[in-house]
């Protein structure tokens, strides 16, 4: 059943690319929306069936079996939501129907890639789908073919190829000790073979490859350039879900289920997580460009996820996954608003903006919710996931990490308030006054931002129910 998730979009794309072009262009948008809503409904409706399942529903349609457990369900949900948002935003930012046709196809391929990553149980097919997602996002970034876009695309391509080469290198070395490449086989092989330097080298190389894809601090060079270079619809997709699925989800899946946890890896993850929180937040503080600021902010938030995961306790990992979901929601919310602002003003330079919430009230207020949720201010969702991570840190005895992580959210608040003040509050600058169409953006922007804001608020307010239904099953997975 889950493999349909991957197959149906593929056949749909092939079907669409057949000759009668005019017909397809009109319907491609609604076809994509249909597919993604199927995915959302599938994940929501089936959660009761699968949530409690351990390794999940084995589908034997393919020889290489798949595994859907609650962790992948949450990721599937995030992928569907963020792609839907990016789809609706692209409908407005790319006017020309021919371009939009190509764009939606690429978007669907990226979605296929991410779905593949999430449901695969084999290390090598993980590499294959990583490569698919990376490739389609490179093309998506370079979509507008101006110099910036190409620069961002090229950097992303080079860095991700380096990462994949590292992963292949480690797969090769692992094959020395394990007969097959699926997670279970490798895990068994690694468990009983002694901890020799080669295996540790392979593990190290693989983890660093994932860090590059995830954009954590020492490896994060490409991330801000790729996000700012991409067209606004793509930066939503990238920031919202691509880096997290390729980098963070794979790290969680591989470390937790294949390489296994030990103290050294935990402290490595914690250190890298904390380091990226601080550097990401500090770098974001001095930014002049709105999208670049949000890019650094997502590095910092990913740092929290890695920190949460690094505690190794079940609660910490559950908090990390919960934060992935929250971050996907409020980061794409902020990027949707950034896209709306850029569409209206034509540039995302913070100094030329000001007082936009007069003319664009909905964007203004939803971005306030996004800001507060990112900083972890109580009533909203961000607070709860950060709190769970912090409590996990405390329970596992890492007081110093916990204190620094909590106080780092002051930095988050600082640069986001800076952004909010420069962009939305304050006085409307002169040249924006007479801009004729500086009014509220169309429903393509306001609808997703309102929905995302509603999700953040409802998850925040009804946290206890959300916690019982979603986060506790995740804890049970990591329990073994």
């Amino acid at each position: 059943m889950p493999s349909l998730l991957v197959l149906i979009p593929l056949f749909g794309i092939i079907l669409l690319n057949l000759p009668f072009r005019r017909l397809n262009e009109k319907y491609v948008f609604w076809f994509a929306v249909f597919l993604l809503s199927v995915q959302i409904l599938f994940t929501i409706s089936h959660h009761s069936l699968f949530w409690q399942q351990g390794m999940g529903y084995i589908d034997s349609f393919f020889k290489v079996d798949f595994a859907i457990d609650s962790l992948s369900f949450i990721m599937l949900l995030c992928i569907a939501i963020v792609s839907m948002v990016s789809l609706s935003v692209s409908r407005y930012t790319i006017p020309d129907p021919r371009e939009r046709f190509k764009f939606i196809n690429l978007l669907m391929i990226a979605a296929i890639g991410m779905n593949g990553i999430v449901i695969t149980k084999d290390l090598f097919s993980l590499y294959v789908f990583l490569e698919i997602t990376a490739l389609s996002s490179v093309v998506l970034i370079a979509f507008q073919k101006d110099m910036n876009a190409l620069e961002g695309a090229f950097k992303y391509l080079i860095l991700s190829s380096i990462a994949t080469i590292m992963m292949l290198f480690s797969i090769a070395l692992i094959l020395l000790v394990s007969p097959g490449t699926s997670f279970a086989v490798i895990a068994a092989a690694l468990k009983e073979s002694p901890n020799s330097a080669v295996i540790i080298f392979a593990m190290g190389i693989f983890i660093c490859g994932l860090f590059i894809k995830g954009g954590l601090v020492p490896f994060h060079g490409w991330l801000p350039d790729a996000y700012t270079a991409a067209p606004s619809a793509v930066s939503i997709l990238l920031a919202g879900i691509v880096t997290k699925v390729c980098g963070i989800y794979t790290a969680i899946r591989v470390i937790a289920f294949v390489f296994g946890f030990n103290e050294v890896i935990k402290s490595l993850f914690m250190f890298i997580g904390l380091f990226s929180i601080l550097i990401g937040a500090l770098a974001a503080l001095g930014q002049k460009d709105l999208k670049r600021l949000l890019a650094y902010s997502s590095i910092s938030q990913v740092g929290y996820i890695i920190l949460g995961f690094g505690t190794g306790t079940a609660l910490g990992m559950a908090g990390a996954v919960f934060h992935i979901f929250n971050h996907a929601v409020f980061k794409s919310l902020l990027f949707v608003n950034a896209a709306a602002v850029e569409k209206r003003i034509g540039s995302s330079d913070l100094d030329r903006m000001g007082g936009l919430s007069y003319r664009m009230p909905i964007t203004g207020s939803t971005s306030v919710i996004g800001v507060l949720s990112t900083c972890g201010i109580p009533p909203l969702a961000g607070f709860w996931s950060k709190l769970v991570i912090i409590i996990a840190l405390w329970q596992s005895g890492h007081y110093m990490y916990g204190t620094i992580a909590v106080l780092a959210s002051i930095l988050t608040l600082a640069y986001l308030l800076l952004m909010q003040r420069k962009a939305f509050f304050g006085k409307l600058p002169k040249e924006l006054e007479n801009l004729k169409d500086l009014k509220e953006v169309g429903p393509e922007f306001t609808l997703p931002s309102i929905i995302l804001a509603m999700i953040t608020i409802s998850v925040g307010v009804f946290f206890p129910f959300v916690f019982d239904k979603f986060v506790v099953p995740i804890k049970s997975i990591f329990m073994q």
Binding site: I158, I200, F201
Partner: protein, 615 residues
């Protein structure tokens, strides 16, 4: 029923005050009638209550705070005196404030402060006494403020000085509670060693601030000009003295166990004598009728404090007797000043003169009261001053000398005032000055008569009012009424008075008019420099205090701006440095990203291998 009679002295004046407050301004006659009737009612009540011992207390609040009243001989005497003078002043101000716009407000404040003074005197719990004591701050501020357009500055000055005194009192009360655990005045017996000493100092500062002695006196001369005259007659002249000295004596007699040769009585005596000498010398050089009288009010307080400070029966009786005498002749002098101001239009001595012909009654009253304040024998002032001198002599010649100098200068200044105001030829043209209206004259005549009565037949006040306060065992069986026992002192006093008369004649001959009688003292080599400095407020503790607090607040403000600077500038600078450092990693070229990634991978791998193999 009897017990809550004790509440009446507080509730009746408040009710009257509220009633007047309700009435609109134009019912002038009704306001005058109500205030007169109200004060008369209170006078009757206090006469009724005078000789009884009553006590009344509401259920205790907690921490020793309870609203309990206790009428015994001393407080009954103070309530009676206060009621008597309020009645006279109300009668006087009915006429004096006839065309003034603020008369309604004045009566309200007058009656309220009467209620507060009754409350303070009657209450047996330090906190409820403090409650009423500090309540007078508001009426003090109100009464001075309504005096005129510019008078709010003096009102603020008075408020601040009295406020500081009351805050010290509040802290003293808190320390008393800390030491003894109870706040009932009758049960308090605190040794004055260590923290008890601090409590004594604070309570004494509160009492002296209320009484208006030296360090807290500077608002009274300014108020003399700015405030309405009936205010000067009633508050600085009588209320403040009554309440302040009442509490000072309660402190030194009941609350603290003070032996005569303890440091506490020494401080009291020093303050008393300093106040006498400095205040009266300032009075000598004044050119304004009311300012001169106000300085005398301050110097007379010195006598009382000196008297009580000696802790010798003679001194204490003298001090208390001097209190009641001073209240009498001081208020009467102010009333004469009021009459002069109302009829002659000004109280500036340069413009006044020759009022003897036009205002004979006022002149007579002035002469009687001036004589009694200077301590001329038959009048009451002479007897109380003798008792104080006797007490002072017992404790030390220096204090006696201060008293004598005070007597000399008081006599000189009043001779100067009388001569300049009444005897000199009239200088201003506004001639046909009529005598003050009858309703102003009656209080003056009554008080002047009392002065004579208390003087000639002084055993009445002593036996009736003063001596029972000390009780037999403190008096040591001696009766101070009648002629002063120590004839030597009497001779010296008379010699001093004659000296003052001669000095006055010499001054008048030397400088021509009566006004300049004291010029030769004023322009003496060293004294003139000190006088000029004192005149423009150089030694005024209020100004010194203000400068200190402004200086401190400027420093505090700088400190506050420094903290603000840290928030607004410093933190931003530091964050800029860190941001630049954090962003230095992204220098744009993908090559440096690759180098960074490979280096980091190397580091991770080495870290993993070393720690895993090692573990």
């Amino acid at each position: 029923m009897l017990t809550n009679v004790l509440l009446l002295p507080i509730t009746v004046p408040t009710a009257a005050a509220l009633l007047i407050l309700m009435l609109p301004k134009k019912f002038r006659a009704a306001i005058d009638a109500i205030s007169l009737f109200g004060s008369f009612l209170i006078l009757l009540l206090s006469i009724l209550l005078f000789k009884r011992n009553l006590s009344y207390s509401m259920p205790a609040l907690g921490f020793g705070i309870e609203f309990s009243l206790r009428l015994y001989h001393f407080s009954g005497f103070i309530v009676l005196a206060a009621a008597f003078f309020v009645f006279l002043i109300t009668l006087y101000s009915n006429a004096f404030l006839r065309e003034k716009s603020y008369s309604k407000q004045f009566y309200v404040y007058l009656l309220l402060s009467l209620a507060f003074i009754n409350g303070a005197v009657l209450s047996d719990n330090l906190v409820s006494m403090l409650f009423f004591w500090e309540g007078m701050l508001i009426t003090l501020f109100g009464m001075i403020y309504i005096g005129g357009k510019r008078s709010f500055k003096t009102a603020t000055k008075a408020f601040i000085i009295a406020g500081v005194g009351d805050l010290c009192l509040m802290l003293g009360v808190a320390i008393c509670f800390y030491i003894s655990g109870t706040l009932a005045i009758s049960k308090l017996h605190i040794p004055i060693s260590g923290i008890g000493g601090a409590a004594f100092i604070l309570l004494m500062m509160g009492a002296i601030a209320k009484a208006g002695s030296m360090p807290f006196h500077t608002w009274i001369p300014d108020a003399a000009i700015d405030a309405p005259l009936p205010f000067m007659a009633i508050v600085p002249a009588s209320f403040e003295k009554l309440l302040g000295i009442y509490f000072l004596s309660r402190i030194s007699l009941d609350i603290f166990e003070m032996s005569p040769d303890s440091w506490a009585s020494m401080t009291l005596m020093i303050i008393g004598s300093i106040t006498i000498v400095f205040a009266v010398s300032m009075a000598l050089i004044q050119k304004n009728y009311k300012r001169l009288l106000s300085y005398h009010a301050i110097s007379q307080v010195g006598y009382m404090i000196l008297g009580i400070g000696t802790l010798v029966p003679a001194g204490i009786v003298g001090g208390l007797f001097h209190m009641i005498n001073n209240v009498m002749y001081k208020s009467c002098l102010f009333l004469t000043g009021g009459a002069v101001e109302k009829q002659a239009g000004t109280t500036d001595l340069e413009k006044l003169g020759g009022l003897k012909k036009y205002m004979p009654v006022t002149f007579i009253c002035y002469v009687i009261t001036a004589a009694s304040i200077s301590g001329v024998p038959p009048f009451n002032g002479f007897f109380s001053k003798e008792l104080v001198c006797e007490g002072a002599l017992e404790r030390g010649f220096i204090f006696y000398l201060a008293a004598i100098i005070g007597a000399f200068l008081t006599a000189a200044s009043f001779l100067k005032l009388g001569h300049a105001a009444f005897l000199d030829k009239s200088k201003n043209g506004k001639l046909p000055i009529k005598e003050a209206p009858i309703r102003m004259l009656i209080p003056m005549i009554a008080i002047a008569a009392l002065c004579v009565l208390f003087g000639v037949w002084n055993s009445l006040p002593l036996k009736l009012f003063i001596q029972p306060i000390l009780g037999q065992e403190r008096l040591g069986g001696r009766d101070f009424s009648g002629m002063p026992h120590n004839s030597l002192l009497v001779v010296i006093t008379i010699m001093v008075l004659l000296g003052a008369l001669l000095n006055h004649r010499y001054g008048v001959k030397k400088h021509g008019s009566g006004l300049k009688a004291a010029e030769h003292i004023h322009h003496a080599p060293v004294l003139s420099y000190i006088f000029n400095k004192a005149e423009n407020g150089y030694f005024d503790p209020y100004n010194i205090g203000l400068n200190i607090s402004y200086g401190f607040s400027k420093v505090a403000f700088l400190f506050d701006r420094a903290i603000d600077w840290v928030y607004n500038v410093f933190i931003i600078k530091v964050s800029k440095v860190f941001t630049a450092a954090a962003r230095s990693l992204n220098d744009g070229s993908y090559k440096s990203y690759i180098i960074w990634s490979l280096l980091a991978t190397g580091a991770v791998v080495i870290f993993l291998i070393k720690s895993m193999i090692g573990a």
